[in-house]
């Protein structure tokens, strides 16, 4: 039997990232058409973690397995979708129709995974009015109005750092609940709004640190 989430304590960030991984692994598992059941051991092997960790992570939200058997693949997949909030479609706005914006817009996994880009914005008069697939690029000046009209919940911010803070604040005014930020600055937003930063530079620096360090330590 599946038990309901016990009580929602604070969940570690790292747990959430692993849950994403487990979901991905389960989907792979399904598409490979293997067993209909999977053990924490097998899930751990795919996810660069341990069986105990898998079980502990899941135990935060309830009890989804059968002792002696493991987890029903499709069932756990559904549970994880629900937990991660991807058992529905999210209405997404893309702010910035430059290089990064355009790359994201056409990112295949994007649509597939329940993120529906219903509005695109840019400040460049050259771009405003152009169509990208089903959506027309709108003027950033109309941001609040359009975000509200389209009932956008999540925005992807793909603009230069100099414009990011102002646009973020305006998106928040328009009722947006989450921001995926590609601008290389720390956004200041109210606590109720969630920001995730994607920082290319930071990732590269983590790489060069690790490499430099490794070289320095061994020699």
């Amino acid at each position: 039997m599946i038990t309901r989430p016990p009580v929602s304590r604070r969940i570690p960030e790292s747990t959430v990232r692993r849950l994403s991984h487990y979901l991905r692994s389960l989907e792979e598992f399904e598409s490979e058409g293997g067993e209909s059941t999977v053990s924490s051991e097998e899930l751990a092997a795919r996810g660069q973690t341990t069986a105990a960790q898998v079980r502990k992570d899941l135990s935060h939200f309830g009890s989804f397995g059968k002792r002696g058997l493991g987890y029903q693949v499709d069932e756990l997949r559904n549970q994880l979708r629900q937990i991660l909030g991807v058992d529905r479609t999210w209405r997404v706005g893309l702010i910035g129709a430059g290089r990064i914006g355009s790359a994201l817009f056409s990112y295949p996994d994007f649509q597939v995974r329940g993120y529906d880009c219903v509005a695109v914005f840019d400040a460049d008069p050259e771009k405003i009015g152009r169509r990208w697939g089903d959506v027309t690029i709108r003027d950033s000046a109309d941001l609040e109005e359009v975000l509200r009209a389209e009932r956008v919940e999540l925005v992807i911010l793909a603009v230069p750092g100099s414009a990011a803070q102002e646009l973020a604040a305006r998106a928040v005014d328009a009722g947006v609940k989450g921001i995926l930020n590609f601008a290389p600055i720390r956004l200041r937003v109210p606590d109720k709004v969630r920001v995730e930063d994607v920082s290319l530079v930071m990732e590269l620096e983590a790489l060069s640190f690790a490499i430099t360090q490794a070289g320095g330590a061994s020699e």
Copy 2:
């Protein structure tokens, strides 16, 4: 006086990410032309952390401040560059000249921060031979040869998941030490090679989780 790194223990991943932040903050600080000195308190305020954390992070590598005064901005900036391994130029290869690859290639911070893209690869005959600025797109078939000839140390992998593992393995064969991976799979590489994953889907799921959870908890 600046003391040297005491001994290199294992440094937490989270510390490294914060060091990147501090470096960014110091650079901002400089370009704003404020005081030539900064306290852990001020640095913390910009970085969403605490003064104690800043000091502890830095203390892993030595002792860079003056009691009663704080840190010399330009000096700490240099130290951080050295620690993060960005006090030099890295020769980078870009594998995949699609949407994401092209967006990354023209990402402004990229060049500026000492990452020099010296080779671009794609498997599409349409693209091979085209020029992007100074570099010519090469055939992925020649990956090892070109990576070696160009003495590439870091690659950015911006190809579909299906091709990623094979290309990663070949890059490793060619002596690459770090991989920034945009493909939505977990790469298997030898321990000596460092991989950083950038997963758009995972970031989006972290967002929808946080939002969903927040709503569910309060009501």
